[in-house]
Symmetry: C2
Subunit: 160 residues, 2 copies
Amino acid sequence: MAPEQVFIASAVQAWKQNVERADKIFSGLSDAQLQTEVAPGKNRLVYLWGHLTAVHDAMLPLLGVGDKLHPELAAAFLTAPDKAVAALPPTAELRRAWNEVNDRLLTAFRNFTVFDWAGKHTAVSDEAFAADPLRNRLSVVISRTSHVAYHVGQVALAPK
Amino acid sequence: MAPEQVFIASAVQAWKQNVERADKIFSGLSDAQLQTEVAPGKNRLVYLWGHLTAVHDAMLPLLGVGDKLHPELAAAFLTAPDKAVAALPPTAELRRAWNEVNDRLLTAFRNFTVFDWAGKHTAVSDEAFAADPLRNRLSVVISRTSHVAYHVGQVALAPK
């Protein structure tokens, strides 16, 4: 395995581990448990699940994979804070969206070449990318891995 | 910049961003604020700061950089849970250890070659590494980046 392949595989492994960690927690929660706040007055578990789903969905266009699969989630979980939107999607729908989006990303990751990974994401211009090659696709995945971990750390604090 | 260099720089950038995020929070806290629990009955901020310092210190031998700079931190912040050890180091000492350890790591990161990064960390045998090349130095840094993010997410919940 060449070093560049090793580095890609290492970053993708960390992504998978963190998403699986989130999945293991969220998938086992009842509707009632999903209403729990991670700490007094803070985000509810259902909001963080929807938020991660919406953020991962937005990775599809950002990585040039395709359109969002669930653009409807952004209003409740991305642009609005928790409790600002009264009607959230049912748990079964959220679970389906979460799985769909993450599966779609993993499929794309398997098909990216080394040059796809080192190539620019879609939110940066050619000029800006020439000046800063770190604005590449692998950076997006590394950054979103920290984002999952950040919220999983919060979810771990929720009263059982 | 060759792809393997881009990937290393992307992972190191994420490490730096997350450590700086933690640094910005912890360095600005008073002794009294450091006693705050991130959520009722959960770890105090001082414990998480010491815990991150101890975990980063342990990266030095794990990455083959050298011995721990502050092995004395492990007893209070790594092997024991919060509040199990009554006498924690003074804030100034903790701040110095945090800075020293993170500076030492960054210096090592700057000197690692591509093959150092792709090489095995010290807690894996040659045989196990041959079977799983993802047990490399860059993986350690990627994994510890998620670890920082996980706890920074918790720290962000602490009552102000």
